[in-house]
């Protein structure tokens, strides 16, 4: 019977009259680019960074709603227009980025989930819009973002300037929240992949297989939406959606100890074609440390080379253009192989990195220490530290101390918002100048609060997380940065806008902290009820019995002989025995 219906539908379809609407107005232009950068790391691990960018020349804020979506995903377009979003950055990360071993990432992200949003000036109630936005995003990404509320949202006063176009920087339209406990798994990757124009069926996204991606030392997937300039004159803007995946695969976790990486070993897939909707689809391998091919060799070989200035350094890349048929060779599939010959070479020490830990003992007080290392031999640079501490760790700001090289280092700008119990967290922002070749230590003491017994999560003995600190900085660069923002550049070097040539902007995240709060014994209510009931039953019950019970003497049952004697006596009329 379904066949019947299909037949009917077919017949109706062919005989219905056609109405052709001439499109005299050109459709808004949209463009999709994808790229994958593979950077071998000195410890033997390998860093893979995917970026998928969709540019769309449209205006979400105008009265007539946008209704025709092509490459840009409809769910995100509707979110932008409904909540008047100017910029949205959301990331889900599993693992912690080890700066000292791996260098700087192209797109940094803290462990757990992080969401920061700039709203348009037309929004009247930013907090209510923020709450609705987090709920909608939790449905889109299958994450528990609905746990973002006023107790973990802050409004930074100087950090997190918009990454897109904008002159207005009234920070009352900015909200930042982080959920360090959030888990990332296939259920977050699935809706993320569905936002891509080609899905996970063609192009570079076929490599995103969850069994390999989550078996890595670090995995981060993010969505960044902002307005960018269309051309160098920058008179018109277009919306940019970037979806990024950063993964670091561990050498020893993946099997053999031999130092050899291939696309198949990393992703259990090879590339067969570029996404047909992409205008450019490229694969970059970082060969800066391998100019003559003495460290490792690439196969299949490629003659395309590209240079880019990224993270303050000029790097050379081998490029594979997936839109060309020749890249795939005769086997119609590209399985890049990187084989190491020698193990020498040392990594460039990152100029800025940070650590954070909790010191102290017991369950009452503690101290948070944040260490920031400036490894530049002679230049000092400014650093903006943003700390958001939950309300149940009561910070004693009078104990805040910032020391560099043993001496006190007074920050040029401090912004502190105290917490309110169960309403908002602490916010501490400081602009500190880091002297060259030094360690700066920021310490603050805190006291742990006792929560109400219903506020504890089901596993309170695991501990409570404190979100990562965010350190934003302008680090001096060794080569001149490219300030012309609209020239054709690979995606990985165009994320952070560059205003001056001598330094580049970098944002690093410290470790999240895991703090134990004094936990009550949850079996106590049950114990108290049992004990009280027992005492009442035994004590009061016995007293009541003693007072109200009356005793009667009862004759024991007489033996058979006595009973017969009693019967005879009764007949005789004599009282019984």
């Amino acid at each position: 019977w379904p066949l019947l219906i299909i037949n009917v539908a077919f017949l109706w379809g062919t005989s219905a009259p056609e109405t052709v609407v001439p499109s005299s107005v050109p459709q808004p232009k949209d463009d999709f680019q994808e790229e994958l950068v593979i950077r071998p790391l000195h410890s033997g691990d390998i860093y893979a960074s995917f970026q998928f960018r969709t540019l769309w020349d449209t205006d979400f804020m105008r009265e007539n709603k946008v209704s025709h979506y092509r490459l840009f995903p409809k769910s995100l377009g509707q979110v932008i227009s409904k909540f008047s979003v100017r910029e949205l950055h959301i990331s889900f990360t599993q693992g912690y980025w080890r700066t000292m071993q791996w260098g700087q990432p192209f797109i940094p992200s803290p462990p757990g989930a992080e969401l920061w949003v700039w709203f348009q000036d037309s929004v009247t109630d930013v907090d209510a819009t923020w709450k609705e936005l987090t709920n909608v995003l939790s449905g889109i990404f299958c994450a528990s973002l609905n746990f973002i509320d006023s107790t973990n949202t802050v409004q930074p006063s100087a950090s997190f300037k918009p990454l897109g176009i904008g002159n207005v920087t009234d920070h009352s339209f900015l909200r930042y929240a982080t959920l360090p406990r959030e888990i990332v798994c296939t259920e977050n990757l699935t809706p993320w992949k569905k936002l891509l124009p080609c899905g996970s069926k063609a192009g570079l996204a076929v490599l995103l297989k969850s069994e390999k991606l989550f078996h890595s030392s670090f995995h981060s997937q993010a969505v960044h939406i902002r307005s960018v300039c269309q051309d160098w004159q920058c008179k018109t803007t277009s919306w940019e959606l970037r979806q990024t995946v950063n993964s670091v695969f561990d050498l020893h976790n993946s099997g053999q100890a031999k130092r050899e990486w291939s696309l198949f070993k990393m992703f259990s897939r090879t590339l067969t074609e570029a996404c047909p909707l992409a205008s450019s689809s490229k694969l970059y391998i970082d060969i800066t440390d391998n100019p003559q091919g003495e460290q490792f060799e690439l196969s299949p070989a490629t003659s395309l080379l590209s240079q880019a200035v990224v993270l303050g350094d000029r790097r050379t890349f081998s490029v594979y253009d997936l839109t060309q048929e020749t890249t795939f060779g005769s086997v119609r599939s590209l399985n890049l192989l990187i084989r190491w010959k020698s193990n020498e070479g040392e990594m460039l020490r990152p100029l800025l990195h940070a650590e954070r830990y909790v010191a102290g003992y017991g369950l009452q007080t503690g101290e948070i220490h944040t260490l920031m290392y400036n490894n530049h031999p002679y230049r000092s640079f400014p650093v903006l530290l943003l700390d958001s501490v939950p309300w149940y760790l009561r910070l004693y700001i009078h104990t805040l101390s910032v020391t560099s090289k043993g001496k006190d280092n007074k920050p040029s700008y401090i912004h502190y918002e105290p917490s309110k119990d169960r309403v908002k967290p602490h916010l501490l922002e400081m602009l500190i100048q880091l002297p060259p070749n030094s360690v700066t230590e920021v310490t603050v003491q805190f006291e742990r609060a006792l929560l109400k017994w219903t506020e504890y999560p089901p596993d309170p003995n695991h501990g409570f997380y404190v979100g990562s600190s965010v350190i934003s900085s302008l680090v001096p660069s060794t080569v001149a940065m490219d300030t012309n923002s609209t020239r054709e550049r690979p995606l990985f070097s165009s994320f952070f806008p560059c205003k001056e040539e001598s330094s580049y902007f970098v944002r690093i995240y410290t470790e999240p902290l895991l703090v134990n709060l004094p936990t009550p014994d949850f079996s106590m209510p049950y114990n108290v009820i049992c004990l009280t009931c027992t005492v009442v039953a035994v004590g009061y019950g016995s007293l009541y019995n003693l007072l109200t019970r009356s005793f009667q003497i009862e004759e024991p049952n007489p033996g058979l002989a006595k009973r017969i004697a009693n019967v005879i006596r009764k007949m005789r009329g004599v009282p019984p025995l």
Partner: protein, 393 residues
Amino acid sequence: MLALLMLNILAYMTPNPDKTQIIIHLLSVISQNSAGQFFSSGHTNNWAVLVCTSRFWFNYRHVANTLSVYRSVKRLGIPDSHIVLMLADDMACNHRNPKPATVFSHKNMELNVYGDDVEVDYRGYEVTVENFLRVLTGRLPPSTPRSKRLLSDDRSNILIYLTGHGGNGFLKFQDSEEISNVELADAFEQMWQKRRYNELLFIIDTCQGASMYERFYSPNIMALASSQVGEDSLSHQPDLAIGVHLMDRYTFYMLEFLEDIHPASKTNMNDLFKVCPKSQCVSTPGHRTDLFLRDPGSVLITDFFGSVRKVELTMDAINLTDPIKQMEENPVNGEEQKEVYSYADQLPVSEIIHQKPKQKDWHPPDGFILGLWTLILLVFFKTYGIKHLKHIF
């Protein structure tokens, strides 16, 4: 089938305008007989609410139970938008899992029930008794996204599957709270009164599971449990590499049974009642059909586990409105360009240093301070008498 063939031949032979007339006529003749069959079960859409209530790594098997039912239900046609999946803990990406992003049902590791295309609606701390009851009754806050709602109507068949640790009359949620069988029965009654379901199939795989369906009193509910009151439901087998028990017996044999079902199969509920006899399950599975109006032998498995779409045929003509015209674009090209945009400075050091903090609006003093001062003034005037008042004012 013969009629269909004739239909096809006729369709390709006759000229266009007459084609549709003939087809409609034939259809109306044939469809009288089949319409009755179409609506014999009375439902038009299917929903599933699958809940795993246990937290911690050693309760891996409960997540595997729920995911295997999810997998079967998805395979038989219910889309993700009609499934509310609640997992209280994450086993696949748990750091103790030696094979990340996988959840296996059997120690031969051939079936990854987690799969590559899974959407979990409620996870972690969100799986609470309150959220579960809100999903069932539909009383959710207005900003809840669609994927987290049970948007069923009076022609929906709903499958509800619960697994975890339970006892006589309760089911434990996340080691910190319980739902009792009375609460569950009342929630179903609310659903009935608000006409949120046509028929409901309730499956529970916990210890003493039969106690959870004892109190149901709403019509059209069929219930299955993995064990009777006083019995424990046992787990199937441990895996030495992963280190925990992978699945519970009842759901394991139910998964085996469901793997043989395909969307067109005619297996009915009586076969499902026979799944996992005492010899395999060690506990005695139970079922309850007295509240169900139809005979279980006539209820297909795919009525609840699959999503066989029924289509209503209509012979009425519908007039379509005029096609949508393209909106006239305001001519942007001829206009003078207003301003040049630029990127914001990421770390404007001088601006930040000279940034003055916003002056907070003056608020009237706190109630406590006001109250204190009122008290002081009252005491003063009480002791020293009201005659001093004129000296003050």
